[in-house]
Symmetry: D2
Subunit: 344 residues, 4 copies
Amino acid sequence: MVSVAIVGAAGYAGAELTRLVLGHPLMELAMVTSSADAGRRVSQLYPALAGCDLVYVPHDAARVSQVAQVAFLAVPHTAAMAIAPGLLEAGLTVIDASADFRLRDPGVFSAWYGTEHACPDLLCDAVYGLPELWRDAIPKARLVACPGCYPTATLLAAAPAIEAGIVTSGHVIVDAKSGVSGAGRTPTSGTHFVAAAESVTAYKVGAHRHTPEIAQGLEDLGLTDVRVTFSPHLVPMSRGLLSTVYLDIVAGMPVEDAHAVYAEYYADELFVTVHPPGVMPSTSEVRGSNRAHIGVTVDGAGTLVVSAAIDNLVKGTAGQAIQCANLALGYEETTGLDRPAPVF
Amino acid sequence: MVSVAIVGAAGYAGAELTRLVLGHPLMELAMVTSSADAGRRVSQLYPALAGCDLVYVPHDAARVSQVAQVAFLAVPHTAAMAIAPGLLEAGLTVIDASADFRLRDPGVFSAWYGTEHACPDLLCDAVYGLPELWRDAIPKARLVACPGCYPTATLLAAAPAIEAGIVTSGHVIVDAKSGVSGAGRTPTSGTHFVAAAESVTAYKVGAHRHTPEIAQGLEDLGLTDVRVTFSPHLVPMSRGLLSTVYLDIVAGMPVEDAHAVYAEYYADELFVTVHPPGVMPSTSEVRGSNRAHIGVTVDGAGTLVVSAAIDNLVKGTAGQAIQCANLALGYEETTGLDRPAPVF
Amino acid sequence: MVSVAIVGAAGYAGAELTRLVLGHPLMELAMVTSSADAGRRVSQLYPALAGCDLVYVPHDAARVSQVAQVAFLAVPHTAAMAIAPGLLEAGLTVIDASADFRLRDPGVFSAWYGTEHACPDLLCDAVYGLPELWRDAIPKARLVACPGCYPTATLLAAAPAIEAGIVTSGHVIVDAKSGVSGAGRTPTSGTHFVAAAESVTAYKVGAHRHTPEIAQGLEDLGLTDVRVTFSPHLVPMSRGLLSTVYLDIVAGMPVEDAHAVYAEYYADELFVTVHPPGVMPSTSEVRGSNRAHIGVTVDGAGTLVVSAAIDNLVKGTAGQAIQCANLALGYEETTGLDRPAPVF
Amino acid sequence: MVSVAIVGAAGYAGAELTRLVLGHPLMELAMVTSSADAGRRVSQLYPALAGCDLVYVPHDAARVSQVAQVAFLAVPHTAAMAIAPGLLEAGLTVIDASADFRLRDPGVFSAWYGTEHACPDLLCDAVYGLPELWRDAIPKARLVACPGCYPTATLLAAAPAIEAGIVTSGHVIVDAKSGVSGAGRTPTSGTHFVAAAESVTAYKVGAHRHTPEIAQGLEDLGLTDVRVTFSPHLVPMSRGLLSTVYLDIVAGMPVEDAHAVYAEYYADELFVTVHPPGVMPSTSEVRGSNRAHIGVTVDGAGTLVVSAAIDNLVKGTAGQAIQCANLALGYEETTGLDRPAPVF
């Protein structure tokens, strides 16, 4: 049993973390922090968590350190790098769901986030928490940088082909579709129901901050001369993320062979399902769960088209954070994530 | 540990039962039956249940009896009354999610369902499985008739006021709103996305088969001269059911007093939350969970307006069936239902 | 040809007015005002109105009077009563879509809107603009108060029965369901896609400001001892409003007779359709159009249940304003509203 | 004034054609045919078309020829090629919304549609009806093959760059997203609200029948060595289609230059809007209208990303058919399509 604090607990990612920690048999939720919602009860802000009478308190590193052994950070980017060092010094394990420790190169970070990194030394200590691709480092980690939602789905979709050496070009086209919760809890003109319903739209094409994270991941997988074309789209659903990835592969490879690469790669992964050749996943299959479902095909132009579906708030954020914490703490990796989610 | 069969497992209610049994620590899923989908794997029909490699088989009472101690029936009405007797004779505990054993009066059944009841003798043995209102009989039950989704929400909304004796008229107006999954898995012109989206509509006003079940429940709660006006509506969401109930109450009662009746009535119920006076629940609060959330107000006309939100497939069907099975089997009532659902 | 200004043109009602005026063969759009969006082009804020290069300007009564003969007010309540007098003095016809001139009793206005009425003398001059019920006064009007969206649907649903003298109680229960655009363009936690999707919820039960307007209308129709129980609900769709109204009627009246009352009442109305007995309308039928579709039934409890569907932004706001302007200007009532809307 | 018949009028495309013909000032709707819904009134099947008392009749070439000068075909593919010859012989102008006359090469047709073409001779007579790209031939046409919804958006997105000679590779990647109405009116497991809501999924990747039509169009625009990777996706909305197209262009071209190519190309097109550089369209902007809205950007990898939004049933089907008919009949091209659609 480990005592847990969630920092920035009132946003969507924080709320899903709260939900998962409350249902985790080996975690005890000791503290939830929020600057904007301090003083409110969890069950007041999220009636789905009825029965949780914890009250949001402002973040205070000392108080967090007193009550918790593990801290999940669900704060906005640039806030996490201000908070993590203190918690690490106090001996906590830090599982960061923000973007602050994902990019190893502080220059890339400052180029995309518009500010210098506050603690570049920690970047080499941070472990990128995508267990299916880089599981080994996580058990030793004290600071885990959980991947972004788009990189999670995209790298899961690209990894088997790259590692199998069948990808022939470093130019990877990623056309991804996300539900509206990916935009966060703050109401904006773009997240208004009327704006988002009956609408699909591309946004931040070529300018989304997950682009360099995807590129770094592709390089880590062994792809060379990496160039990423990344077009995120907003679709009218609350949850769910689908990343459709286009890869040039060796000429003439039949879809069955490409599929076999994927099926074998993920054969032992409990959270990943590879559908039969040509069968593509839908995001509703993974709603509320920590699963990633993957479909693979090769079209008449010889392009490998891979589509990966996740719940952006679970495998894309909070669930993966729990999965990483389980590994870091030496628990069974699936603990607290093993019950099936509603069937849609 | 008990061995479980789900009869009619391929519909929405059956699939949610499958999900909940798979996640239940004291149940083992031994068999899933389906006439239409026999031969397919569960994970094929419901990819959310990836990892469940059970194959649907046609219903066969003898085979069910060999492998299971408990049978959940999720078949259409009139099918359950053909199946239940055999399973009961074979010694199984039967938890029926259909309508066949809900109405105690076989004449009322035949009037609303257009056919004679096949086993009217069993109607007195069947226990109506709404634990928060009639918990005591369930532990002794071998045949539980789980309430319909509309009656569940409506009776939870009406019970405290009726039992407190503050309701002054037997005419109860129920304006209820259901998500589209309530119409079942078979595709129809009415469940087509294009027909259901951007649309709200009343249907079967005064003619819905849950009407006599609501009336019977209101009478059981002690209301006299019961007349039910019931208007179900279809709203564009997959899950969720909201029943807004209008009750004439003693003149001049302030909302705080009415609210106190509800808060006290449900004070010890783990699955029911009564919101503060005037705060109404939304169905998204209970999506995927076995919870019922209730809001209470009294308006300027002196009418008690109570709104109850449930997930039609969980507290309205499969979750309540598990809850009843837990009671019937002597398990903790919340077993397998105790982890919080996604926050929306 | 008449020259038109829209005051408060950047909100949803204003935008639909803009759309309808641009498509009106006898109106010319001379000016659109907006305080918050001054300086932006119409087509920039509403890309659906591509080609409209008018720029929002701050409201200025003198400038409006110079360019326009008719002013539509789509400003928030309490703003219209500050603007209307000046425009009327300058000789304009004012069609007000706000709430400021709907209630004839300034005491009722101040009780519900929390402020004294700024120009109570104008209340008797204002004509309530619901043509199907009170058409005669509109042609003579210089100030038309367009009804609220809920009162429009509710009064259309109740009028025939009341005027036919078959309603036996002054207690009218109104359970209404609105799409999210009814909450306006300003983003809030309640209009966030994630909050509104997969959710239905009652709000402001007994406290919604359309309550006294409904009551006034019912009295005007001849109902006595009026008491209104009004429960608005928010449903996950952009447009559309359904009002289901419960009326006590003379005992034993068959549904065919009740239906005949409605069919006859609206026989000559071009914008109203009465469905066959027991067939209820859906809001998608009237999406984008100025139509009201009505369904009528009588249930086993002897209650008359009437359901009326409108588009809250068209027949509920902007379309009805155009309809009233057509009448006030001596145009054919359907001008600019006569082309069918998309079929869903 | 021309007399019009709609053959296959009861499907979604037929219903939108019905709507547009009813609102067209120079067309008179003489006949609507439907095999499945013969005997029903239009207003019964589509209550949005209240007031249209035409009754669907089975198709009969002789009767159509007696009453109509123009026939719109909205029948399934392979049905149109059985119907068109007779109508042409009888002297009618035929505007075909099906796929039967889009592909000029009968071999390509039979390869993708699994049957020989019934009247290959007519393929050279048929004019491909995408006015913005190939307007000149339409006025002389007696048989217009209206493009598919995906090809319409995709070719509009690709044409300016190809014709400007800046595209450097024949491999075009098209990632498109369609609302559910694209799947037609027949209820299926995939169009069930519960299946489509909260879900995005790729389907028929590399196997969709619009693929050869896109390829033919790209070749007609002058692209050489054409290879099309086409991934259609289903998104949870009723209407709308977004095609995001990835094109390799000459190295180093700034986005402003690429944008200028598009702005100039469509400068005089009344139905096409090119947004400012980097501003991407959403489908809700064009809901219910015959418009196409286009956004253009060039990303860090040097890829030209163009996103085109249309309403799949209007510019993607029925609206474009009217536009083509206007041209074929010598009417103003925008007749009946010129009023703005609802703003969302």
